[in-house]
Amino acid sequence: MSSTVQSQFVDAQTTAPPKVEEIGATSGPLKSAAFFIGAYCKEYNEDFMLCKAENRDPAHCLKEGRRVTRCTADLLTKMRENCAKQFETHWNCLERNNQEYYMCRKPERALNSCMFEKLGLLKTIPGTPEGQKPIHEVENPVYTGVQK
């Protein structure tokens, strides 16, 4: 009896119409888009994290969480519309290279410049020392892939 009751209730809950479409992207595209998500959805992300700092209860920040997810979905759609080729090249490169940014600087630069031209989003790494080139813009880094 218990198993039928169980499945009945789980199904009733989980198959209820979702209020927000989940992202569904895998780690590669997310890692590739991470800094743009941080730039584009800054306000929503901070709002959500402040809400989570208030209370850890999942029920407490559902609304803010939906906003975060919608904002990210919006950004990913825009990326696919504007920079689909560069985006795909970059995350495929990440997938092939253990998801290390330093192995994929060339596709990353193409994606960064495209994102800046089309959407005005700039990749910035917080905490980079003053007067130093951010690591993703260094021309001749020590750490590169063995195969160029």
Binding site: K31, F35, N55, T128, I135, V138, V142
Partner: protein
């Protein structure tokens, strides 16, 4: 009697062929190579720190998204648990489904997943 043409001259000069660069040249060379190596190592260490920061920030930027998704799933599962508990305990009078076992309002993540 000497042989015709006379004796050949006596070889008295030392025969010491050139045996490579001197000690100080080798020492200097090794120092130079090591110095360059250490310079690269230092640069690489600084760079590694920056790469690590980049990696950490890429994850920080993704935290709200992943946390929000996880929260929705946890919330849905919790609601299903409460509904199930209600159904199981419907014959017990005064039973409050989903009530915390602790006497405070602080959130506790569920220790048992019923469904």
């Amino acid at each position: 009697m000497p042989p015709p043409g006379g004796f050949e001259s006596v070889k008295y000069k030392r025969n010491l062929p050139f045996r490579g660069p001197g000690a100080f040249a080798i020492l200097g060379g090794v120092t130079l190579v090591s110095a360059y190596g250490f310079y690269r190592l230092g640069k690489g260490n600084l760079e590694k720190r920056e790469l690590e920061r980049e990696k950490v920030w890429s994850r920080i930027h993704l935290v709200p998204l992943l946390l929000a998704e996880g929260d929705r799933a946890a919330y849905a599962r919790h609601q299903a648990d409460i509904a199930l508990e209600k159904a199981i305990m419907k014959d017990v009078a005064g039973w409050e489904a989903g009530k915390s076992v602790y006497n405070n309002s602080k959130y506790e993540s569920p220790r048992i997943n019923i469904s």
